[in-house]
Symmetry: D2
Subunit: 287 residues, 4 copies
Amino acid sequence: MKRDCNILIAGGDMRQIYCARKLGGEMNTALIGFDEELLPVDMSGWTADTSQKRFYDCVVLPVVPLDANGLLSTPCSSSELRPEYIREMLRDDGIILAGKCDERLRSMFPEHEIEEYLTREELSLRNAVPTAEGAVQIALEELPVTLNGLRVLIVGMGRIGTALTAVLKGFGADITVAVRNETGAAKARIAGVRAVRTERAGADYDLVFNTVPGLVFDRERLSKFSPDTLFIDLASKPGGVDFEAARELGIGVIWALGLPGKTAPVTAGEMIAETVTAMIAERGRGE
Amino acid sequence: MKRDCNILIAGGDMRQIYCARKLGGEMNTALIGFDEELLPVDMSGWTADTSQKRFYDCVVLPVVPLDANGLLSTPCSSSELRPEYIREMLRDDGIILAGKCDERLRSMFPEHEIEEYLTREELSLRNAVPTAEGAVQIALEELPVTLNGLRVLIVGMGRIGTALTAVLKGFGADITVAVRNETGAAKARIAGVRAVRTERAGADYDLVFNTVPGLVFDRERLSKFSPDTLFIDLASKPGGVDFEAARELGIGVIWALGLPGKTAPVTAGEMIAETVTAMIAERGRGE
Amino acid sequence: MKRDCNILIAGGDMRQIYCARKLGGEMNTALIGFDEELLPVDMSGWTADTSQKRFYDCVVLPVVPLDANGLLSTPCSSSELRPEYIREMLRDDGIILAGKCDERLRSMFPEHEIEEYLTREELSLRNAVPTAEGAVQIALEELPVTLNGLRVLIVGMGRIGTALTAVLKGFGADITVAVRNETGAAKARIAGVRAVRTERAGADYDLVFNTVPGLVFDRERLSKFSPDTLFIDLASKPGGVDFEAARELGIGVIWALGLPGKTAPVTAGEMIAETVTAMIAERGRGE
Amino acid sequence: MKRDCNILIAGGDMRQIYCARKLGGEMNTALIGFDEELLPVDMSGWTADTSQKRFYDCVVLPVVPLDANGLLSTPCSSSELRPEYIREMLRDDGIILAGKCDERLRSMFPEHEIEEYLTREELSLRNAVPTAEGAVQIALEELPVTLNGLRVLIVGMGRIGTALTAVLKGFGADITVAVRNETGAAKARIAGVRAVRTERAGADYDLVFNTVPGLVFDRERLSKFSPDTLFIDLASKPGGVDFEAARELGIGVIWALGLPGKTAPVTAGEMIAETVTAMIAERGRGE
């Protein structure tokens, strides 16, 4: 028996489709902002009826809700998703869940509460897994050598650094983790790998994963690396590598963002669905 | 060159001796509350001269500072260590570092600031390693079977649970982790082991490690386990197992406290020394 | 100082180029059967001078020396590599090394000894690493879910099965190994994963790696698997899956052969070079 | 239903008792050479009736059948176990299984076939697990430091070296494996640890496990190690360490033999039982 809660998945990438499918098992779920032909066969007919005004209890916006132009992000649709559609379909006491929220988004929905789901601890923790797997996939694809025996530097021992370490240990890579403080060093030691302070990490590596937002590898530092080194930057916003300098130095850098949605959209979508379900339950909806 | 800081290690177990030795490499270090014959040969003569009044910048008390009688803990000494000795040797602006601090301890040193070192994140994190190793040592000693293939339940996926999981995976144990919430489950999945909610963990295990303070295994729950199951309880204070009920049911329980000091006093002592050094540096002492 | 040994790399894929580069550090090395423009810049001019008759001490043929038409395999050349070229360039007492050797190959070089390098234990063992990495790369690329938590069946606990198990454990996959006998089961247990007899392995898996040559998955058996299961077949010659039946059942199968040369040609080539060096040294050449 | 085979466990350590218990689930099993009070309660009455002449189809002798005096080994009995007892109780076509067999043993039973069970591949492989666990237990007990971060040398990458590597990796030890050839190096790399040729292994280690029979650590070599290094020698017969020289140099050496029977007698006994069952089945007995 489905719970008495109407939920609308509005825009986003493939993840949101699989999020919808998972939510559909428990709640009345519809989609908007996706071209019908991109939906799996078993989800045909899930597209929302826009004439149902004030119907939805909850709208789920994308992980990164707005695109570069400040519009609602709809990479799976050929048409724009206008905020007023959503406002009209949402109940007066309906809530909006978005991966992250900023002022621009808040101003689109001035009368509704917006909660972030990506900042929930369990989801950011779980997201580290597809991110690490996607990063390793890139390394496997790009490098003409095995990861086994490769000298790898992982910058940062947070969630993603920890997940990467576990995966790369399985490959038998020769791992060093660059950490900021004693806590990071302790985490590296527990994981059974070498720890070094970031500022003293050296340049003798074949592969570098950066997980720290903030310029870790500036021109001077990059110049000490061999041009054969591959950098995979997983840090959001500014990234941790001076891309300009790297290009001039002939060093390969791949700035890999949004990996969960690319490499494991089903898993990533289902994780969002589980977090959304928990957030709705906490608010007493759909009981 | 040694830093200009006089430090006094006052009481505690073997860990504090190795802490002193490590600190002695950088600072002027003395001991009180240890019988001379227990000290390693190279530390002979390190016992403090009690006539040096108002001399020490810093006193390091034990991890668990007070014993069951409310006295300063001195398991390595045949005589009592009286608080007034320490008060007299400490400078007026001297600081006291203790593993943990409570009202009783505070009332012994009303004029000095007391800071806790055991609650520092890097030390509690690092302490998880000797705790996990000591717990596994107990299991190896107690069980007539291999850990390889053994059905093990680890209750709690905090620092100790995480460290235990890593070690036991190396043995090829069949590990289930009992967790409280989705965050714990995510940690277990990242570690590559099964997660189950604590209340639904079942009883089909050969070995159970509890790391959660609070009664997890009450009589009713224990009665579902085979008498062959071994429980190793690593939780402080009340412990997580109803010891009385376990005895009546013929189930073996080992309540293992203070493992770092028992199984790896050198490592544990050196870790304390490093944290003490960091705390002194942060306060601008000994620069 | 280079050893006094002239060596000719004749045909093969990218691996042989990197094999040549590595050998070039120690011996006088030339290439034949590669288009000049495919060679790395630093190897320009390494193409053999075919007018040097009876010059080479050793010829290295490809891992799989003959193509489907029974000709010397030259995927990196637009022209044919005729056996008589090689015969003329080789010294009378020169030796031929080939990955594998059969009657057809032997009849091309009736006057020279041919030794196999792929059957050397250290090389077949080391080749398991790029094979396992390449297989995991395929799984990462094909599956829309994470390997973490995935139910994986590995058929066979030989070199490749063992290497795959180690890598997949790092991902936190839920691994079962299908084995033929008690020795295989013991290897699985030591690796810390579940073992099951192949005939009783069941069908509840999301991903299956086959490493056993011989029809393991016939039509009847395949019909028990979900169409969502992905099969990656690493077994040579006939393969272990009834491909015809799989297609009819809508089950995805990827038959992945020659992975070392595709996913890690540099590592694979250098491994060949090290084995070739050892074989030459054992024969007292180039000392 | 039990199989129609009468089996007699004759002498040996605790392992043989658990071997008997396991066999007793499938076959008619009795014991000789064990004092009744050492048997578990549920095995009371399992002692063989020596008046049953020519009754047993199979006799299982200990893993190491003869003691230092050349008598049948009966560490769990206060009286001698004379060969003639066994000869009389065994059927004319009965077989004898012994861990290992030599001329002395063969001359005790001139009319019966003796087969070795310890040399069976699956058993020697499986025995590596309790050996590795026992060796690690000794290290945990002896060392005042954590295995995490410890510089460990494992000499030999055979069954025991491989099992040790897996366990010690879980502890986060800093592992180097000393190998004899390229095959051993390949195994180490696959396991994700450093490999070094035994003769160039150096002496910068805190802990050394030797698994190679033959004098690896002679006086000259030992003299380069710090007296703080702990050697745990797992090699049989002569051992791999010059014990005399080590003592003079003040280096601690523990020669640990027969670990499976000491640290995991239940697992070790059950493994013997499974191998014995397989050997009997192969001979068509008890079908």
